[in-house]
C-alpha cells in the first residue's frame, strides 16, 4: 500500500502526558505518556484488563482522567465532553459494539455526520436543509459502499452479523470525518479471511481519508503486520513502545504475556 511513512519531523497529532485513571483503589491506567504521529498506525496491545479500553475512554472523554493531560493537534482536550472531542476529529469504535441497534445501517452513518452539518430544528422542519440532507445521504451511501454494506442499508444494525457490525461501526466513525480513528478490537469475532482483509482495509482507509489510526487488538500477527509502532500496556502501565520487531523481542513484553497466560 502507498501509505505515507510517518515523518518524525512533524508535530504529534496526539500526545498523552501522564494519563492516569483510578477506580477506587485500582489503577486502571497509570501515568501513561506517548505521542502519536500524523499518518501513523499505532497499535495498543496488552493482556486482558491491562487498561487499553480505559485508555481509549480517557482519550475520547467518556471517562474523565484522574490526572494527566491529552493534547490533540497541540490543543489540550482533557476533560472535554465526548461530543466535543468527537467533533474535533477523534472517531472511535467500541470493543463491545455500540451501534444504534434499532436504526438502519444508513441512519447509523447519517447520525455520525451530525457534527459536520448545521441544519437546526426550523431548517429541518421547514425544508431549508435539502441540499445538506442530500449530501448527508450521498455520503452515507458512499461510506456503506466502502465497507461493503450498501446493499443492506435499510436493515436494522442490530440484525447484522458480528463482523458486519464491526465494519458498520468503522463506517459510522468515518462519517464523523475524523483525523484520528480509534479502533477497539476491530478483528474480534471475525474469521481469518476477514481478519486478513482487515489489514488491507485499514491501510486503505488511512490513505484515502488521510488518517492517523490507533488500534487495540489481541490478534498478534495482525498487529505486527499492520502497525507502524506499538505500545504495550500491562496492569495500566506502559511497559514498552516501539516498532513491531523491537516490541516483540522486549523481555518485559514476553513476560507480561507469558505471566498473564
Amino acid at each position: 500500500m502507498s501509505a505515507p511513512a510517518p515523518s518524525p519531523a512533524r508535530e504529534p497529532v496526539l500526545r498523552a502526558e501522564g494519563l492516569t485513571r483510578r477506580f477506587g483503589g485500582l489503577v486502571a491506567v497509570g501515568d501513561v505518556s506517548f505521542d502519536v504521529m500524523p499518518g501513523e498506525i499505532f497499535g495498543l496491545i496488552g493482556p486482558n484488563g491491562a487498561g487499553k479500553t480505559t485508555l481509549f475512554n480517557l482519550m475520547t472523554g467518556l471517562t474523565p482522567p484522574s490526572s494527566g493531560r491529552l493534547r490533540f493537534e497541540g490543543r489540550d482536550v482533557t476533560g472535554l465532553a465526548p461530543h466535543r472531542i468527537a467533533t474535533l476529529g477523534l472517531g472511535r469504535t467500541f470493543q463491545n459494539i455500540r451501534l444504534f441497534r434499532g436504526l438502519s445501517a444508513l441512519e447509523n452513518v447519517k447520525i455520525a455526520q451530525h457534527a459536520r452539518t448545521r441544519a437546526g430544528l426550523l431548517a429541518g422542519v421547514l425544508g431549508g436543509a435539502r441540499e445538506e440532507e442530500r449530501q448527508v445521504e450521498a455520503r452515507a451511501w458512499d461510506l456503506l459502499d466502502l465497507v461493503g454494506l450498501a446493499n443492506r442499508a435499510g436493515e436494522d444494525a442490530g440484525n447484522f452479523s458480528y463482523g458486519d457490525q464491526r465494519r458498520l461501526e468503522i463506517a459510522r466513525a468515518l462519517a464523523l470525518d475524523p483525523k484520528v480513528l480509534l479502533l477497539d478490537e476491530p478483528a474480534a469475532g471475525m474469521n481469518s479471511a476477514e481478519k486478513h482483509g482487515l489489514t488491507e482495509f485499514i491501510r486503505d482507509v488511512r490513505a484515502r481519508f488521510d488518517l492517523t489510526v490507533m488500534v487495540i487488538e489481541h490478534h498478534v500477527p495482525l498487529v505486527m503486520n499492520l502497525c507502524d509502532r506499538i505500545a504495550v500496556l500491562n496492569f495500566g502501565q506502559l511497559i514498552a513502545m516501539g516498532d513491531p520487531a523491537s516490541v516483540q523481542r522486549d523481555p518485559k513484553v514476553i513476560e507480561a504475556y507469558l505471566g498473564a497466560e
Binding site: H83, K110, A119, L121, V125, R139, G154
Partner: protein, 304 residues
C-alpha cells in the same frame, strides 16, 4: 347537527388528548421519560384564563378582539418554553425513572402553587373564560384543535426525517454512543423536552376557553400517567401511537357510559390489559416493519 351537539365535545376532547399524548412523545423521541406535560398544560391554561378574565387585561382584550386568543397561545408557548428550559436543563441530567420522578415533583409543585395564588383563583380556579371567535358550541373547537393537530403531525413527520430528529433517535438508542459520535446529549434532550413543553402549554391555552373554567385539577399526577398511557398503549415509537392512544382512551369513558358505576373500573382494567397484551402499542398491531431495501439516490459522489 345532532351528532355534533352530542359528540362534538367528545371529538374535540379526543383531539386534545391526542395532542397531549404527543407532548410526551417528543421527549421520548430522545429517550427521555418526562411526565411534566400536565404542568405545562396547566400553565398554558392559566395564562389563557388569566388573560381572558383578569381585569388587568381588559384594555388588551378590547383592543385586540379575537386576536387576544392567538396572543394567548403565543404567550403560553413562550412561557412554557422558558419554564421548560429552567426545569429541563438541570432535570435532564437525570435518567430513566429519576427523570420521571423529578417531573412528577415539578407537576405537583406547580399544582400546589396554583392552589395558593390569588391570580389563579386559588382552590376554586377561574371561571367564565371567554369563547374565541364567537364560538357558541363546544364542537366548534374542532376549528382550532384540528388544525393544531395537523400542524403538529406535519411538524413531527418532518422533524423525524431531519438532522435534529436523527440526533433525538440516536439518544434514545444509545446516549453514550451518540455522544461519542458528536451529538451533544444535553442540548438535544433539552430541545426535545422544550418542544413537548411548548405543545402542552399551547394545548392548555386552547383548552381553558374550551372547558370554560380552569383550576388546579387540570395539572395532576393522574394526568401525567394518563398521558403516559396514551403513548405506551398507542405506541411509543411512532407519532400516530400517542394520537391514537389519546383519542381512544379519551373516548373510553364515554363508550363505557352505559356501564355507569363500573365505567372507571373497566377503564382501569383496559389499562392493565392493554399494557400486558399490546407491547408495541395499538400502532404495532397494524403497522408492519419496513422491510423493503432502501433505494439509493441517483447521485454518485466520492466520499469526502
Amino acid at each position: 347537527m345532532d351528532f355534533l351537539q352530542n359528540y362534538g365535545f367528545l371529538i374535540v376532547t379526543m383531539i386534545q388528548q391526542g395532542l397531549l399524548g404527543l407532548s410526551l412523545y417528543f421527549p421520548l423521541m430522545a429517550g427521555q421519560l418526562s411526565l411534566a406535560s400536565p404542568g405545562f398544560y396547566a400553565l398554558g391554561g392559566y395564562i389563557a384564563a388569566i388573560m381572558g378574565t383578569n381585569a388587568a387585561f381588559a384594555p388588551l382584550r378590547e383592543s385586540l378582539g379575537s386576536w387576544i386568543f392567538p396572543l394567548e397561545w403565543l404567550v403560553a408557548g413562550v412561557a412554557s418554553a422558558a419554564l421548560g428550559l429552567i426545569v429541563g436543563v438541570p432535570a435532564l441530567r437525570l435518567r430513566g425513572i429519576y427523570l420521571a420522578l423529578a417531573t412528577i415533583a415539578f407537576v405537583e409543585i406547580l399544582r400546589v402553587v396554583a392552589l395558593n395564588l390569588s391570580v389563579t383563583g386559588g382552590a376554586v380556579g377561574l371561571f367564565g373564560v371567554p369563547q374565541p371567535f364567537g364560538f357558541v358550541d363546544r364542537w366548534q373547537y374542532v376549528w382550532i384543535f384540528g388544525p393544531l393537530l395537523v400542524l403538529v403531525l406535519l411538524f413531527t413527520a418532518r422533524l423525524e426525517r431531519s438532522r435534529v430528529g436523527r440526533a433525538f433517535r440516536s439518544l434514545r438508542e444509545d446516549e453514550l454512543a451518540a455522544d461519542a459520535m458528536g451529538v451533544p446529549p444535553t442540548r438535544y434532550k433539552v430541545m426535545a423536552f422544550v418542544i413537548g413543553a411548548v405543545l402542552a402549554g399551547i394545548v392548555g391555552a386552547m383548552s381553558a376557553p374550551f372547558l370554560n373554567t380552569w383550576n388546579a385539577r387540570q395539572g395532576t399526577f393522574d394526568a401525567s400517567i394518563a398521558y403516559l398511557a396514551y403513548v405506551l398503549i398507542g405506541g411509543s415509537r411512532n407519532m400516530w401511537g400517542p394520537v391514537l392512544g389519546g383519542a381512544l382512551l379519551a373516548a373510553l369513558p364515554e363508550v363505557l357510559r352505559p356501564l355507569q358505576d363500573w365505567r372507571l373500573i373497566i377503564n382501569g382494567l383496559v389499562l392493565v390489559v392493554a399494557s400486558l397484551y399490546l407491547p408495541q402499542g395499538l400502532v404495532g398491531l397494524f403497522r408492519r416493519r419496513r422491510a423493503a431495501p432502501l433505494a439509493r439516490p441517483a447521485t454518485q459522489e466520492v466520499a469526502k
